[in-house]
């Protein structure tokens, strides 16, 4: 079959991209979703706090998803559920499989990658000990409790203080479990401050910074863990071991953009974001293939995922309607104390402002963030506090973009 725009993934990014592409003038848009319903991971994020930026109200994940699902339905945008994309090539041929159609092929004019991300697992960390039942990623436990309706365990230790880990500490507590500890190897939590307060402090759950799990015990089922303090090189310090009896260990140790399809298609990836290299239109280095949301960069807030997906949707529609535009790329670079900058390319052939997204490498107080082009400072902003857990943004106005002649560097000075 043939479709103008194929969107891979029906989570927040795919939904917003579909609506924006449709509203941008391309009516033949189709969403391919692996799960049984649209909405992606939002369906299991039943806590509130979504949509404050976009809708000026605090929504639960399913409520936020439903706003976009309604828009998709109102427009009659086609979607296939339980559909797994098997391959994707540079000619924009998508091969997929689902229970209804079996194996099928779609020839697209433009593709939007919106596959989201997945969780890092225990295997990625090489935690010592046995391999009993009772070890879950925080997101898996979240799905069990919120969507499937059963509890993974009663006595819990959580490794990692990212937002999902914090949210699950509260969730398990509300459902009657005892959360003994949340361990964080870094000296700071990568989660939002509000979640430290409302998920841990509210319930008296201790957070151990500079700590990691050094041993997991149990043969059939987890019976306990040992945690240890770590030194500046993240090595466990002998003598600081502390033991907890527990039947469940949750890992909340980061998210990885799910880019197997992107890689197999030969699309250039950034080693820093682990997502595709894109310009400000969210077009990858393959013409007509766009990427947005957590498959591109792991966002803190779904509101920003929607915003980014709308950019991709809009330009994907433009690509279908007008064909290739003008390509005149300048690189962006992460300078001192900055871990990455997105987009990695600024296309001067595209009109309009360019919003740069970046993360800082550490916690900095009273610092200055600067954008330079060559040696020239083109934008400077003072910040009281900058933390790695919160994405920073700066806008390069259209006139500044047009005057750029050298690569753009974002740097932070203390």
């Amino acid at each position: 079959m043939k479709h103008d725009i194929v969107i891979i993934g029906g989570g927040p990014a795919g939904l917003a991209a579909a609506v924006a592409a449709f509203d941008g003038g391309v009516k033949d848009v189709v969403i391919l979703e692996r799960g049984e319903e649209l909405g992606g991971i939002l369906n299991q994020c039943i806590h509130n706090g979504f949509g404050l930026t976009r809708f000026k109200e605090s929504l639960s994940g399913p409520e936020y998803a439903e706003r976009f699902i309604d828009k998709v339905r109102e427009r009659g945008i086609k979607y296939y559920l339980e559909t797994t994309v098997i391959s994707l090539d540079k000619n924009k041929t998508v091969k997929a499989v689902n229970p209804e159609l079996g194996f099928f092929t779609i020839e697209a004019k433009s593709i939007i990658l919106a596959m989201g991300c997945r969780e890092r697992s225990r295997g990625a960390l090489n935690v010592a000990g046995t391999r009993p039942a009772g070890i879950y990623s925080a997101g898996t436990a979240q799905k069990y409790v919120n969507v499937k309706g059963y509890m993974p365990g009663k006595e819990v230790v959580i490794l990692g203080s990212g937002d999902i880990g914090l949210i699950m500490a509260r969730r398990m507590t509300l459902e009657g479990a005892k959360v003994h500890a949340v361990c964080e190897i870094m000296p700071y939590s990568s989660g939002l401050k509000r979640n430290i307060v409302q998920c841990l402090d509210d319930f008296g759950i201790p957070l151990y910074l500079n700590h990691t799990i050094t041993k997991i015990e149990g043969t059939d089922r987890v019976t306990g863990v040992t945690i240890s303090e770590v030194d500046a090189q993240k090595r466990p310090i002998t003598g600081t071991e502390r033991h907890f009896s527990c039947d469940t260990v949750l890992f909340s140790v980061g998210l990885i953009p799910e880019n197997e399809l992107t890689k197999s298609c030969g699309i250039t990836l950034s080693p820093k974001t682990r997502g595709a290299v894109v310009s400000q239109t969210r077009e990858t280095m393959e013409r007509g293939i766009f990427a947005c949301g957590n498959v591109l960069q792991v966002h803190d807030l779904v509101d920003f995922v929607s915003e980014e997906a709308e950019i991709a949707g809009r330009y994907s529609a433009q690509y279908v309607l007008n064909g290739e535009g003008v390509y005149d790329f300048l690189d962006t670079q992460a300078g001192d104390n900055i871990s990455y900058v997105l987009p990695q390319k600024i296309n001067k052939g595209v009109d309009g402002n360019v919003k740069l997204f970046f993360r800082v490498k550490n916690t900095f107080k009273n610092c200055t963030i600067r954008i330079k082009s060559g040696n020239e400072v083109i934008l400077e902003r003072k910040k009281k506090i900058a933390v790695p857990g919160e994405m920073e943004t700066l806008i390069l106005t259209a006139d500044k973009v047009q005057n750029l002649s050298s690569p753009v560097t974002v740097e932070l000075e203390v």
Binding site: N48, P62, R171, G176, R194, V197, Q198, D202
Partner: protein, 117 residues
């Protein structure tokens, strides 16, 4: 006067708020960037309020996400969870439908997802 340092939980900014407390009420609030932060701090020093979100098992086994339509006292959350877990709504349910009327002092528990069957 007692000074309390708080982190606002109203939005992801997480403002650091200072509240001056006299006779159990806030006499001044500073550090907030919006009116919701002021209200948060005023409540927080008296009796912290939170919106409770959870999920309930419907007849037939499907889980339905729910929340309180207004914040409830934080100290009531665990006991209200027992009431909530004893309720099993029948589908279909639409977003915003009341699942438990007057769960606590006029606060209702409402569905946050549409589940048709």
């Amino acid at each position: 006067m007692q000074i309390k340092n708080l982190t606002c939980v109203e939005c992801p900014m997480g403002c650091q708020i200072e509240a001056g407390v006299e006779n159990g009420v806030a006499v001044y609030v500073k550090g907030n960037t919006c009116p919701r932060g002021k209200l948060y701090a005023e409540n927080e020093v008296v009796r912290p309020l939170r919106v409770l979100t959870t999920s309930v098992k419907c007849v037939g086994g499907k889980m339905l996400p729910v929340k309180t339509d207004k914040p409830i006292p934080r100290d009531m959350m665990l006991s209200l969870m027992e009431t909530i877990n004893g309720v099993h709504p029948t589908l279909p349910v639409h977003t915003g439908d009341i699942v438990i009327n007057d769960l606590y002092e006029g606060v209702n528990l409402i569905a946050t997802k549409t589940e048709l069957n």
